[in-house]
């Protein structure tokens, strides 16, 4: 429409959500002026339905549901190129972390389940073993994602090269890690931590 104007205000912005993202990320969302440098340098933009600068724009426009429902936030590689090049000191990589956490906590709909599955298994492995158990991580991922033949030929090759550790010892101080997990959970129950 020829004469349509876009009104931006604290109401259209949904300031509550923006503030949540800003508190979690420690970065301003509002400061972005859409120069697009983040998306120009983003190696993952071709895999995203919303490139990085548009994600910030959607947040500014109060359309955060579109961001959380999409797969873009899960296709960020955390390469930090956007945060490095932003002329306005918007830490987009940290904003992406915050958005993923909000989506993760809400257990909301997302188009990207494989990345979330990999993250969950990775974290579970830390809790169970203390250190990463790479072979188990890959095996359980294949089973749970239903891709039984994924990297089928790679396994034996890595095994002969000694790159797959079949047996993995738990840390003897694993109790300390379990306590970290449970203390964080407790803090969250009491509302003392995000």
């Amino acid at each position: 429409m020829k004469n349509s104007k876009m009104h931006l205000s604290t109401e259209t912005m949904n300031l509550g959500f923006v503030r949540k993202v800003e508190a979690l990320s420690g970065s301003s969302v509002r400061r972005c002026f859409q120069c697009g440098k983040c998306s120009a340098g983003c190696p993952m933009r071709t895999f995203m339905e919303h490139p990085p600068n548009r994600i910030v724009r959607l947040l500014q426009l109060g359309q955060w549901e579109r961001v959380l429902a999409g797969r873009s936030i899960w296709y960020c590689a955390s390469c930090e190129t956007c945060s490095t090049r932003c002329p306005n000191k918007v830490d987009l990589a940290a904003i992406m972390d915050a958005l993923r956490k909000l989506s993760w906590d809400a257990n909301g709909p997302s188009k990207e389940s494989y990345v979330q599955l990999a993250n969950r298994l990775f974290i579970e492995n830390i809790k169970t073993y203390g250190r990463q158990y790479e072979m188990r991580l890959a095996a359980v991922f294949n089973i749970k994602s239903g891709q039984f033949m994924k990297d089928f030929l790679l396994g034996p090759k890595l095994l002969t090269k000694g790159k797959l550790k079949v047996f993995h010892q738990k840390n003897r101080n694993i109790g300390e890690i379990e306590q970290i997990f449970s203390r964080i959970e407790e803090m969250r129950k009491k509302g003392e931590a995000p």
């Binding site: 895999f47 590689a77 930090e80 993760w104 203390g130 090269k161």
Partner: protein, 294 residues
């Protein structure tokens, strides 16, 4: 026993005990040859890497803070080999120094005070700055003359700019300087700071086939004989998945991907049997023989 010139505590990270064991082995070989002591932090934990900070910053910071306090029990600055562990540990130091609220939350999580004073250093920094390029050049027994090396930084050795404190975020030279000290020739190339696809290797390998292909192609265009990396994940993507990348893109690279400590080890006279060359998927032996480095 000769006295060490420098001493460090050492955080190898999970990969160096499994898929990147040649990085661990060659690091120990090089440091021993240069008389730099490395004492592994006992009972260290996973740093949480990308998956933890992706969805749970508090967990990520707490895991790293726990590791930093474990490292306090061992003397010497903390030497870190993996670029991702290095980045997470440094990030934790920065975030908890700047943010009192997060610091208190982490202190509750680890039930202790956080210690942020111990300098965390990537192996590159130790070699180039603490040990020094001149001393490194003096230690070379077999110059890598004629070997054209594409030095690959990837993401986390230089980004974000205030965290690693290693080198310039857009035009670093530390890797080139280190490898040039051995007599090798670093090539000038376009993709040394681009992302390889990182941990999408598990969840979305298609991403890696795409991004790492661009890196291999760029190195080839620049006339490199090999790529040098300082991160186990970059190595996994460029070396382990190279054949798959070639098949997916209908091309052929045959580009050996060395850990920097493997090349340095060759130069400073670490026995080749202790450099884990046999663990590499793209066989480096024909290249090394051609350049008369074996």
């Amino acid at each position: 026993m000769t006295k060490n010139l420098l001493n460090y505590s050492y955080y190898p990270g999970c990969s160096l005990h499994a898929s990147a064991k040649e990085y661990d082995e060659s690091t120990k070989g090089v440091f021993k040859a240069l008389r730099i002591g490395l004492k592994e932090v006992p009972d260290w934990f996973c740093c949480g890497a990308t998956p933890a900070h992706n969805v749970d910053e508090l967990l990520s910071l707490s895991l790293c803070a726990k590791n930093l306090s474990l490292a306090d029990n061992v003397e010497g600055d903390l030497a870190v080999a993996c670029a991702a562990c290095f980045s997470r540990l440094k990030t934790t130091q920065h975030r908890l120094t700047e943010n009192d609220i997060k610091r208190k939350q982490v202190e509750t999580a680890i039930a202790g005070s956080v210690s942020l004073e111990k300098p965390v250093k990537h192996l590159l920094e130790i070699l180039a700055k603490d040990y020094g390029l001149d001393r490194l050049a003096d230690a070379v027994k077999k110059p890598l003359t004629g070997l054209k090396v594409a030095t690959y930084y990837g993401c986390l050795l230089t980004r974000p700019p205030d965290v690693p404190e290693l080198d310039c975020c857009e035009a670093p030279t530390i890797m080139e300087n280190v490898i040039a000290a051995t007599g090798a020739e670093p090539v000038s190339w376009s993709h040394r700071l681009e992302c390889c696809g990182a941990n999408f290797t598990l969840s979305r390998p298609g991403v890696v086939l795409n991004l790492s292909n661009a890196i291999l192609a760029s190195a080839k265009r620049a006339g490199a004989d090999c790529i040098m990396v300082a991160c186990p994940l970059c190595h996994g993507n460029l070396d382990i998945r190279q054949k798959e990348i070639e098949e997916a893109n209908g091309t052929r690279y045959g580009m050996p991907v060395f850990y920097m400590t493997q090349l340095l080890g060759l130069a400073v006279g670490v026995p080749t049997g202790k450099l884990g060359l046999e663990s590499m998927i793209v066989n480096p032996l024909p290249l090394l023989r051609e350049k008369q480095l074996l």
